[in-house]
Point group: C2
Chain length 318, copies 2
């Protein structure tokens, strides 16, 4: 009966450090890694331990709701930046500048993005990091969809910014969702703070699962990547045929589409679709996007086509 290190088994963190260094063209050691039960827990510990009640955090919407939820749980004020389909889901540097004040302590990035699949143009991302450095903001970059990046994607690790925290997840990179294992990459000082809360909550991450993940790192995941990407293409093509408004995703596994119907209620629509056998997520879950739905490509092509047929029938009806 033994307890392991809160931040993960040294042998696993060592393998992860080599994997990350090679894959993202950077240079990290096991001291820069914290293993957590899903990327979510690293997001939770980073936000909870690095920020204080009253601090502010910037989230660029549409966004996965967990960033906001973790911040609100810790008494952090969230300032959201609303981006639009017309803007091609790109925030402007001015938008971000105008949102920063003396209480701002962190900005969250998530590219490839859930739900839009967007990857920022490199120049824009460079400018955002520059702005974060100038204002000494933490950059929490959730990169769990990097495995499914189609276009020219650049990890925030490549900026070597000491106040950045990168999260990764085996749920996405290795399709191991139910296993609940991910990790954070950051400066040792940040990792130590996160590890302290992880020890308090969890003692350590399930070791059998750490061994499974360590083994999974040896696998060639290109087949899985190709499959997800080709499914996303099928989905995009079908969505196009249906005349949905959306930006062709640069990565991830979703399409975030606008249904141009008057009085459209995404929540109600998603619920009614569930009854008909189609699961979509209402846009409201990602910010002020009532007319949008998120469609996931995580099904085989046959099911995707079926689902899109259900969608077509029900858009017509309305």
């Amino acid at each position: 009966m033994k307890y392991g290190q809160a931040r993960g088994m040294p042998v696993f963190r060592d393998v992860l450090a080599k994997y990350v260094s090679e894959k993202f063209n950077t240079n990290v050691t096991q001291e820069n890694i914290i293993v957590s039960p899903g990327a979510r827990f690293s997001i939770f510990t980073a936000i909870t331990t690095l920020l204080n009640p009253g601090d502010e955090m910037i989230v660029i919407e549409p966004a996965w709701p967990a960033y906001k939820d973790c911040a609100l749980n810790a008494g952090i004020k969230v300032r959201t930046i609303n981006t639009t389909l017309e803007q091609n889901w790109e925030p402007s540097i001015e938008q971000i500048k105008n949102t920063i004040n003396t209480n701002t302590k962190m900005i969250v990035l998530n590219y490839p993005n859930n739900p839009t699949g967007k990857i920022l143009p490199e120049k824009l991302q460079d400018e955002i990091i520059k702005l974060a450095k100038e204002n000494q903001l933490y950059v929490l970059s959730d990169e769990i969809y990097s495995q499914y990046a189609k276009s020219n994607w650049k990890s925030v690790l490549s900026y070597n910014y000491e106040k950045s925290i990168i999260t990764q997840s085996f749920s996405k990179s290795h399709a191991m969702t139910g296993f609940r294992i991910g990790y954070g990459i950051a400066d040792t000082k940040i990792i130590e703070k996160m590890a302290k809360l992880e020890a308090l909550c969890l003692t350590n991450v399930s070791e059998p699962i750490q061994y499974v993940a360590m083994k999974a790192l040896e696998a060639d995941t290109s087949d899985n990547t190709n499959t997800v990407q080709s499914r996303l293409e099928v989905l995009a093509q079908k969505a196009n045929e249906l005349g949905l408004d959306f930006v062709i995703p640069d990565g991830a596994m979703y399409i975030f589409a606008r249904l141009n119907k008057e009085g459209f209620d995404g929540v109600q629509f998603a619920n009614s679709m569930l009854e008909k056998g189609l699961a979509v997520a209402p846009g409201e879950g990602f910010g002020d996007y009532k007319n949008f739905i998120r469609i996931s490509a995580c099904q085989n092509e046959e099911t995707l086509v079926e689902g899109m047929n259900i969608l077509r029938e029900n858009i017509k009806d309305k």
Copy 2:
């Protein structure tokens, strides 16, 4: 790629509810169960979600430090009750009464106790629960050592108190420490609050580990129980031969012994013993017990005897 329910797989919670109902002679359903990565996380969510900053919590020492740590992390004030070896590690009702004030919201019980192995006399436990009810205190009863109770032990579940939270762990009952899986048992309203924070932090507990634990419930653990109990007896006998001051444990897997040396420093002693191949925990980790050390019975008998020989040599030296 699917996410499970934050509070655990319904099929597993159902099996757990039946197991708990039978084992502890109570009547709970899956709605009363939350699966968590270790009992520790249920303790964390219970304390964090049921109490508010400024509330007070009572801990009877010696105690596992996690209760206090979780409370302090959430801004809760901890009032400790110091019990002594001379008191046979029993708090008096007066001690507890005198510690309760209008801010007191929770009392923590942990019997069989870590580190003393103490089980409270039934009448005293009845009185404590009565007092808790009168003052509307939550009772957090960490019962992870119940599997190793020698004498007449009674679960707090048997009081049917709607403000009680019982924690259990496969680490102890099924010697599955590295797996990190435990559970909480409480009223549905309490479970819902705990589940909300668990969802925020973790999404859900690793499902493969839930399946392993579900299977483990079918196992006959009496061999393991007997082994732990006989090791504890060997340990107690050896400790007796060494003339250590301690109360014969009623359960759990430890002896909490006083070394009657002037100027004894448990932390320093534990460190120096580590170098000699003996791992003991200093009493200070469990409260104001500088002259004490906790000796664990979690080794085979040969190793236990070896360890106690090292201890004898080093007590003599001093």
